[in-house]
């Protein structure tokens, strides 16, 4: 041990400043072994870290082999000190060992693995020094201070020892983890290398320095008797966006793009401030916003003046954002959001080589395929699933979830002649590119269920319109994703509020109502849906009258379809709180003569069918709309809207038929020529038998109730009548 020099390099997780200092320190020290903070299981990944196809942001991932849901992620970006160290070692062939509490113990605990609860002590130091950006503090306080990076790391370690001494809440978890780190270190030292570098979070640095090591037995005692489970590790592609998530290393970073800019600028000795503002200007120009070079100069001056007013030694991200908003964006914060998305966070997507072990998502799928007994085959096989049976329903759920994840292993086909909703038919065919889709889907989670849910939640946020969201509500049901349903419904509720387009609101009603009516069957929580449905119907009802005003023919046709669909939806739920405002709104539309005939006619028909309007009222309205004074073409439209659907109405209400007949007969010849195509279209929708019956009725208007039965054979008809009575549950009256 005396011959080995152990240097502890305390870094800030995801700190580009630390990464830069670390490179200097490693070059200075030239260690023979490199120890990095991280579960020792990750040692298996070191070999693939040298692969050029491993492109950050990536995450080293340790998960419980039995339950992949439980996992620890160690996300790494280009500027992460751990990544820099890994690549440094890979380039020089220096062996790397990971040191931390083994994931086998972490993931064996009862709760879901939570290793993200780590503090940012360097951030605390920076804050104490008046910086809001710890990286700028590192640059000013560490980089510009001393010639030797190793010395500055020693200074950091001493400062951190003070921080730790000052706060006495040593939490148990940290003590155990540090004991585990020292155990690895002792093993490394035993092998007798001349120089060892330890890369760990600054907070742990004082505890890992060889002078502070307690006796080995004390650490061993602390680590004894921990539960363990089987753990697998792999690399997973990551996104800049997800670096902000708290897991594995530290609490996540809010501005990975900015950090990357800092790191790259430092590496290439570029100007940080002007470089950043030039990139901002370019991003603004890409979006068609003015951002002149003169503006960049002014923004630079502004950022520097702001730093001076705030008494900061150098310009940070907050000054740059403020300067961008005031100088380049005309005070508006909308373009700034774009900058946030594009530059501050960044849109990088990581890549992993094909050689890395299977992702947990793929393993989960393999497990499901085994337990549900569906084998992936390269040829097409068709299956029909009966959703009333548990096992078959689970298969259907799996296929639906995979489709959501962009892995269309099964394609739904026509279930045949059955009209029931309990049957589904699928064509299954596994193609090699589906494996690729599976890797991409791995970004969303470690199990099919979790990933599908996460993807659905994300998609809901970016859904373009209400119709898409309505469809997604249905997908939530078929894929059995109650949490996804909650998210979709929330988004839907929010969107409906912003939606000024009543048509879109109307179209959202039916899928929602369907979900509320049938959701229970699949065990979804429908209370929330009911709430949203209520709001959507109320909003649509309030706006319906105004939305129906001044429509042209095409718009009126779309509106009629939407009103129809909405009415079907409302009829499904049968709740007074939903039905009443809707009926009132339709009533208002039906009574208004200024509304396009297609819509008004339809409204009258809907109310008549639902019994909300008597046929006398309807007859009066029809007579008014079809009277000679009114425009005949508008009357035809009204009739079209009114008559669509079941033709029996005309057969059974002679008053209505009479009105139509009188109107057609009374039309002038020139008007009649205009009417003919419209009427033809209306009536051609009825089947031939109905048309013929209407014709017969019109030829003999005196026949009150259809062709009078002249020669009824009551004896022959009795058995049939009795059977019908029985089906209807009517009490049998004695024949006498």
């Amino acid at each position: 041990m005396t011959t080995t020099r152990v240097e502890v390099l305390g870094i800030r997780h995801h700190g580009p400043g630390s990464a830069r200092s670390l490179l200097g320190a490693l070059d200075e020290l030239e260690p023979e072994v490199l120890v990095i903070e991280g579960a020792p299981e990750l040692d298996a990944l070191v070999a693939s870290a040298a692969d050029a196809n491993l492109v950050p942001p990536v995450a080293a991932l340790a998960y419980a082999a039995e339950t992949p849901r439980r996992a620890v992620f160690y996300p790494l970006a280009v500027f992460s000190p751990e990544w820099v160290a890994l690549r440094w070692a890979a380039a020089r062939g220096v062996p790397v060992r990971f040191a931390d509490l083994p994931a086998a113990h972490v993931l064996a605990g009862d709760e879901r693995a939570e290793v993200g609860r780590r503090t940012d002590p360097i951030g605390a130091l920076a804050q104490a020094a008046g910086y809001d950006d710890a990286e700028r503090w590192w640059e000013d306080a560490v980089e510009h201070r001393s010639g030797s990076s190793l010395e500055s790391f020693a200074a950091i370690r001493e400062a951190m020892a003070e921080v730790r001494a000052a706060s006495d809440d040593e939490d148990d978890e940290n003590l155990v983890r540090e004991a585990a780190m020292r155990r690895v270190l002792r093993a490394v030292v035993k092998e007798g290398p001349a120089r060892v570098a330890v890369v760990c979070g600054a907070y742990h640095a004082p505890a890992l320095h060889p002078d502070a090591w307690p006796p080995a037995t004390q650490d061993t005692k602390r680590l004894a008797g921990l539960p363990r489970t089987k753990v697998a590790v792999t690399w997973a592609p990551w996104t800049a966006n997800r670096l902000a998530l708290a897991s594995g290393y530290g609490a996540g970073v809010r501005s990975p793009g900015w950090y990357q800019h800092l790191f790259v600028s430092w590496q290439q000795h570029d100007e940080v401030v002007t470089g950043w503002l030039s990139r901002v200007a370019r991003a603004l120009r890409d979006e068609g916003l003015d951002a002149s070079p003169a503006g960049v100069v002014e923004a630079t001056r502004m950022a520097e003046a702001l730093a001076a007013v705030r008494a900061r030694p150098s310009v940070g991200l907050s000054e740059l954002s403020d300067a961008t908003q005031t100088v380049l964006c005309g005070g508006s914060d909308l373009p700034l959001r774009l900058i946030d998305e594009r530059l501050v966070i960044g849109e990088d997507l990581g890549r992993v080589p094909d050689t890395v072990p299977l992702t947990p998502l793929a393993q989960d799928l393999a497990r499901l395929q085994r337990s549900l007994r569906v084998k992936p085959t390269a040829s097409t096989s068709s299956i029909t699933l009966d959703l009333r049976k548990e096992a078959q329903r689970e298969r259907s759920v799996l296929l639906h979830r995979l489709r959501l994840l962009g892995v269309p292993w099964g394609r739904p086909t026509d279930a045949g002649r059955s009209t029931g909703t309990f049957k589904e038919a699928w064509d299954l065919r596994w193609e090699p590119e589906l494996a690729v889709g599976l890797i991409e889907a791995g970004l969303y989670g470690t199990t099919v269920h979790e990933a599908a849910e996460a993807k659905l939640v994300e998609d809901a946020g970016s859904a373009p319109d209400l119709a898409t969201l309505g469809r997604m509500v249905g997908e939530c049901l078929t894929a059995d994703l109650p949490r996804g349903l909650a998210a979709v419904v929330d988004t839907l509720a929010e969107r409906t509020a912003h939606q000024h387009d009543v048509l879109a609101l109307l179209e959202a009603i039916e899928p929602l109502a369907r979900t509320q009516r049938y959701g229970d069957v699949r065990g979804a929580d429908t209370r929330k849906v009911a709430g949203v449905l209520h709001i959507v119907v109320t909003r649509a009802a309030v706006g319906l009258r105004a939305a129906c005003a001044s429509l042209d023919d095409d718009a009126a046709a779309a509106m009629r379809r939407a009103v129809d669909a909405a009415d079907r939806g409302v009829a499904l739920v049968e709740l007074a709180s939903v039905t009443d405002p809707w009926r009132a709104a339709v009533l208002a539309v039906s009574a208004d003569d200024r509304i396009h005939g297609l819509v008004a006619g339809r409204a009258n028909r809907l109310l008549l069918d639902r019994g909300a309007l008597g046929s006398d009222d309807v007859a009066r309205r029809m007579s008014r709309r079809l009277s000679l004074g009114a425009d005949a073409v508008a009357g035809a439209a009204w009739l079209d809207g009114f008559l669509e659907g079941d033709p029996l109405l005309l057969l059974h209400d002679p008053a209505l038929l009479g009105l139509v007949d009188t109107w057609v007969a009374g039309a002038e010849e020139s008007t009649f020529e205009d009417l003919l195509p419209l009427l033809r279209r209306t009536f051609s929708r009825f089947d031939a038998a109905a048309r013929r019956q209407i014709g017969v009725r019109l030829r003999r208007p005196d026949a009150e109730h259809g062709p009078a039965p002249t020669d009824l054979d009551l004896d022959r008809g009795l058995p049939a009548a009795l059977t019908v009575a029985e089906i209807l549950g009517l009490a049998r009256v004695d024949a006498s």
């Binding site: 003046a305 702001l306 705030r310 907050s318 005070g331 912003h498 709001i535």
Partner: protein
């Protein structure tokens, strides 16, 4: 963010109705100048730090309490001060009632010690107000001479190296606005009639205010826009803050109009402010229901006028206590500016939000009666 303090009638003295900022807060400015040992830009009375402190309030090392002139995010005032320090002109944008004028007045008072160099922008503002005019009697009697020249506030500010304020910049006709371009970029004002040129001294700068709701009044040309650092002053952050601002202002206006309404128990204020905030932000206070926003601004200033209206109704036609009936009409009037779209928005809000709040039944009924 609307100025929360009512000008103290005692300050300023001499019986003026409203004293200038630099007179009213002379003591605070003097105290700041005493302790201020930080570097000052040329011709600034105070350092940028001291100007920031003057606006945001705080306690000085010698124990002097500086009152807060602006209640809102610190970074906004920092940006404003930094802009002035870089010799870039500053444009304060915001809906009515966001204290734009108030902030610009205090900035000028703190930086240059005087807030009196001001051009009030109107549709009739002529180029003479921004450049210079002539005393025609003298011009005819003596011919063109420096003595016959009438300097604009802008020209005086250039000569003395101080701040000049331009109020309601977007109300000034576009061709007159253009006169500012050369002043802002070249910092000089030629007088060809006398063959001379006034060059701005260091310390000269312009603070302009404009209302960003009045689109298309006289929108700034992009050449002019480019010469300004733009700062948008937002509406108040929290309900409590806004209620307090409305309460003090309504009380002050009520006093001057001699309305005997009972102001202390005006629980309606909280309700009106809440309604306005919810409609403005498009989401209810509990973040649970999203609502549509009407085309009206619904700023703090509007809430103040609704409440003033309500207390006038209550005082003259009621028992002096402001109730739902007294504010319902003016709320509806404030929200529904566009008779079609806004009416739908308001009705929707009534049906989906107000109706579901049991303690708001009176207001719901009062508004329904009007609808």
């Amino acid at each position: 963010m609307t100025d929360p303090s009512i000008p103290d009638p005692q300050a300023g003295g001499d019986g003026v109705l409203r004293a200038h900022a630099e007179d009213q807060y002379a003591a605070e400015l003097a105290a700041l100048a005493d302790v201020d040992d930080r570097p000052r830009p040329p011709r600034w009375r105070l350092s940028p730090w001291a100007v920031t402190t003057y606006l945001l309030g705080g306690r000085l090392v010698d124990g002097t309490e500086i009152s807060a002139k602006y209640v809102g995010p610190r970074r906004l005032i920092e940006i404003a001060v930094a802009s002035l320090a870089t010799d870039r002109a500053l444009l304060l944008l915001g809906v009515p009632g966001t204290a734009k004028t108030w902030v610009s007045e205090h900035l000028a008072a703190a930086v240059s010690g005087s807030s009196t160099l001001v051009v009030q922008g109107t549709a009739g503002t002529a180029e003479e107000s921004l450049r210079y005019g002539w005393n025609y009697a003298r011009l005819l009697a003596e011919g063109p001479s420096r003595a016959a020249l009438v300097e604009s506030p802008v020209m005086r500010a250039m000569e003395s190296g101080s701040l000049v304020r331009i109020e309601e910049l977007t109300r000034i006709p576009a061709d007159v606005q253009d006169a500012l371009i050369s002043i802002l970029s070249e910092k000089s004002l030629p007088v060809p009639e006398l063959d001379l040129e006034v060059q701005a001294l260091a310390g000269f700068n312009v603070i302009a205010t404009a209302n960003n709701r009045d689109k298309g009044v006289n929108d700034l040309s992009s050449a002019l826009k480019r010469r300004f650092n733009t700062l948008v002053l937002p509406l108040p952050d929290s309900l409590e803050q806004e209620v307090e601002i409305v309460r003090t202002r309504v009380a002050a206006i009520g006093r001057s109009l001699q309305l005997p309404a009972d102001l202390e128990s005006m629980s309606e204020i909280a309700r009106v402010v809440q309604i306005f905030r919810e409609l403005r932000s498009g989401v209810t206070l509990d973040q649970r229901t999203t609502v549509k926003s009407p085309s009206a601004t619904l700023s703090t200033a509007e809430a103040i006028s609704v409440m003033t209206n309500g207390s006038a109704l209550a005082a003259h036609f009621g028992d002096g206590v402001v109730r739902a009936d007294d504010v319902a009409a003016s709320i509806t009037g404030a929200v529904v500016k566009d008779p079609v779209q806004d009416r739908i928005v308001w009705q929707e809000y009534l049906e989906t939000v107000v109706k579901d709040r049991p303690e708001w039944t009176d207001l719901y009924r009062a508004c329904r009666e009007l609808a």
